[in-house]
Each structure stands twice: as C-alpha cells, then as structure tokens.
Symmetry: D2
Subunit: 152 residues, 4 copies
Amino acid sequence: MEDPTRQEQAGPAVRARIEESFGRQGLMAHLGARLTHIGTGRVHIVLPARPEVTQQHGYVHAGATSAIADSAGGYAALTLFPEDCEVLTVEYKINLLAPAAGDRVEAVGTVLRSGRTLTVCQLEVYGVRDHGERKLVANGQQTLIRVDGPRR
Amino acid sequence: MEDPTRQEQAGPAVRARIEESFGRQGLMAHLGARLTHIGTGRVHIVLPARPEVTQQHGYVHAGATSAIADSAGGYAALTLFPEDCEVLTVEYKINLLAPAAGDRVEAVGTVLRSGRTLTVCQLEVYGVRDHGERKLVANGQQTLIRVDGPRR
Amino acid sequence: MEDPTRQEQAGPAVRARIEESFGRQGLMAHLGARLTHIGTGRVHIVLPARPEVTQQHGYVHAGATSAIADSAGGYAALTLFPEDCEVLTVEYKINLLAPAAGDRVEAVGTVLRSGRTLTVCQLEVYGVRDHGERKLVANGQQTLIRVDGPRR
Amino acid sequence: MEDPTRQEQAGPAVRARIEESFGRQGLMAHLGARLTHIGTGRVHIVLPARPEVTQQHGYVHAGATSAIADSAGGYAALTLFPEDCEVLTVEYKINLLAPAAGDRVEAVGTVLRSGRTLTVCQLEVYGVRDHGERKLVANGQQTLIRVDGPRR
C-alpha cells in the first residue's frame, strides 16, 4: 500500500481554496471527517470510526463511506480547475467490497480524466487500523461537472 | 406526485424488524433521518435539511442524500426477506439531478427485482417543501445481497 | 405491461432526424436492430434473438442488450434537442436482472431529466416472446451530454 | 502503457476453458472480437474497428466497446473459479471517456475482488493504433456472480 505522506502536495493557493470549501461542508464536520492530503488531481479524506457513523452491525455506514468518497473525488477535480470554478457531482457508482471495519476509513479521490466540462474520478475507500493495516473496502467511479463563476 | 400516505403498510412484524434495525444505525440518528413509511418492497426515509447535512453551497450534501437512499433501498429489500436474514449493499449508482433544496429530502427505495441471492432496488430522492412541493433531486439503482442467519 | 403502439409519436422532422442517424450506426444494422418507436423523450429499439447476438448459454449477450439500450437512451435524449445538436453517452450503468430469453429483446430509453448540458435517461430492456409475453431483463440509468453544432 | 505480452498467462486448463466458452459467444464472433490474453484474474479482448461496429460518427459504438469490456471482465472472473462454475454479469457501469478512435479497441478486465459469491472487476478499454499509440477510451466497474454446476 502506498504511503500518502510521500505524495506531492498541491500549491498553497489550491490547498487554501479546497480547505475553505471543505470548511463550508456542514456534513463533513458533523461526521467528523477531515482533509488529510491535497495533491494535484488527488485528495484524501479520513473519517474516524465512531458510533455516530455506523450501520446496524457497527461498521461504518455505506452512506458515510460514500459521503467522504464523493467529497474526495469532488475536491480532486477542483484542484485542476481555474480559481473561479465550482464542481458538482453528476453521478457516482460505488461497490462496497468488504465491511468498513477499522479505526478509521480513508477515501482517496483521483482524477482519471479531466475535460473542459466533465471530469471522471476514481474513488477508493480503505479501512485503516491504527497499527497501519489498510484494506480496500469500497471502489467507485464518479462523474463531475465544472460550473463556471462563483456559486455562493 | 403520489401520496405516500395512501400506500399500504407492511405487517407489524416486518415493521418492527425494520424499525429495530434502523434504530441501530448510528448514522441515521446522527443525521436526523427517520423512517416514514414501511411498505412491502418499499421504504421511505426523510431527512430534514439543516446545516449539519449540507455541502459547501448550503444544499443537502450528496453524501447525506445517498446515505438515506442506500438505507431506504436496503430496508425495502429486507421487507421481502425471511425473518432471520440480513441485507448488505453490494453497490449502487446515483445521479444527482438537481440541487437538493427544500425543507427536507425524502428517499424512496423500491424493490425492482427480488431474487434468491440478489435484490435490485430503484432509489429516488425528492426535495420537499413544507407547503408540499416535491421535486426529484436524485435517482439511482442499487444491488443488495441477502445474508442468511443472524449477523450481530 | 404497456402497449408501445398506443404511445404518441414525435413529429415527422424529429423522426426523420433520428432515423437518419440510426441508419448511420453500423453496429445497429450489423446486430439486426431496428427502431420501432420514436416518441418525444422516449425511443424503442428491438433486436431479434439469433445466434449472432448470443453469449455462451444461448441468451442474448449483455453487450447486445446494452448496445440497444444505450442507443435507445441516446435517441430519446436527441428527440428533445434542437436540430443541430448531437448527443454523446457520458456513462451508463445497467443491471442484468434475468437471462435475456425470448424471441426478441426490446430496449426502451426514457428521458428522466433533460438539462441544458446533461440529460439523464432510464433504460429498460424486455425479453419478448412472439405470443406477447414481456419480461424485464435489464434496467439501467444513463447520462448523456449535448454537443452543439454538426459533428460529422 | 504496459505491454500485455509481458504478462504471465494462466495455465493451459484455464485457458482452454475460457477459449471454449468464448467460442460459444455468437456475439463475439459476429463483432470480430478475439481473445488476446488470458492471465489469472485478467483477460484482454481486442475488437478491430470496421464499419460493422460503429456509431453514427464512425467511431466504435459504445455498445461494442461495452460488449467486449463485459466479456473481458466476465472471463477474468472465470479464471479464478473452480472448473465447474459459470459466471453471470450482475451489473456494470462504464464511462465513455473519449471517442473510441483507432485501428482497434482493446478491453482489459481485471479482478479487483474475488469473493465466494460475488466478484468485482475493473474494466478498461483502450483505443489502439497500429503504430502502437494507446489511449484510455472507457473505464468501468462490474459485479459478477458465480453460478455453481454446469449451465448448458
């Protein structure tokens, strides 16, 4: 398994833009998710496992897994856009490969193709234990659309 | 738009089973979602809009929308299973058709095909205003697997 | 099951445009598929079962099923576009619900949401027997993009 | 881009089983597709571009692209099954990233997770020119189910 800390970070302006947008996502704060890596075309989001994010068997809920995967892909796309653009998710598909066990789940969004209008991302979610074990628990694919101009 | 209150409810044993399982989903309580209809092969879940479930533009986050859609589909499948069975989401795909605006979002999971091992559900999410306006904001398709025997 | 012949047809200009485009799809002719209904936002394509379109168990191949579903959705989208526009499939997802048995398969593409840039369609494929029995064998969802100007 | 010929092949019994099944797929022969690599958990299928497999702009039709991708994933799954098992596609999702231009398209199906009942594959399709240029034209994800016992 790769070591995310060894990957190159995006520039400070891009990072600041992503962090500011992430800070406005009420859901991410409410779930307890945090941005852990902002690379060019690649963003990581970590969600600690706790009772507030579980399904009925005590694993992280597919909805929480998907939520951080969707955000990771969206921000990965945004790192490649000009400053005034926003991004919206058009659709995504995700396979839940294994119960999302572990001390935390980590979503990795990676841009697969960045076009003028549409971006396609790969979504991966890992269950991670504190001692370092990582297991792929979900894998998906996402389509996003670039929206020009500020959208606040 | 159809009126959910006109639909027939599942029997009391099925409803109790679904409600008990829903009660164990930490994420649903944390988001503020609640079960509003349990029919045979059809379940509705409502999520009131509030800052804790938004994305960066103030609409309900695609992750929250997906979370209740995924649960609605899972419980719709479960209404058709024998008592000792559990259900796991294999995968789903969802299109976000419009910003999830409104006073609440309502997910409707409907069984499209129920097989011995696999179930396929249609997922619909509506943005609903208090005065009654309903708009389809997301549409998806989900595959689930039946797991025999208790899984606690 | 609905009777397609009872549905209203699109106007003659739209129908001519769709038929001309369909006629240029080498694959549709090679498979033996034909357009059987062009409504506004809804197109049907029929593929007779024959050895040239089967998989290893003698049923219609998922690839052939998908091919006519994809075309049906694309042309359904095109019926709602201005004259000079073209349509491209961005992505689709399809569940194969049952073996595609029958004397022919019929794909029905229906526009679910038509936006300025993107269109989302529902895809249904039925296995049909000559004596009239119809069974849903595949169900999907498709995203399309409108491309302005002629693209030949 | 990797060179498929450098990859290790599956054993002769597995290859014979896949080739025999592929030979029974009427659609693959009718399209002109051929198996070009059978590795353990990875299968390649090539489809030469010709008028019989095109869409209305002369590129390879998304349906043909999907058909070989679906078969490549299915056979990749089958390489990991015991001898008497068959495989059925449950569902797949594919993004068409670029027009499928080139002298041929090559689908690569790779097993991402192989479970007792379900297998998840990654699907990639490349447009390839005779002088060696390769471009990713489609990317997808597929769920398959193992069916025990002979199914002829």
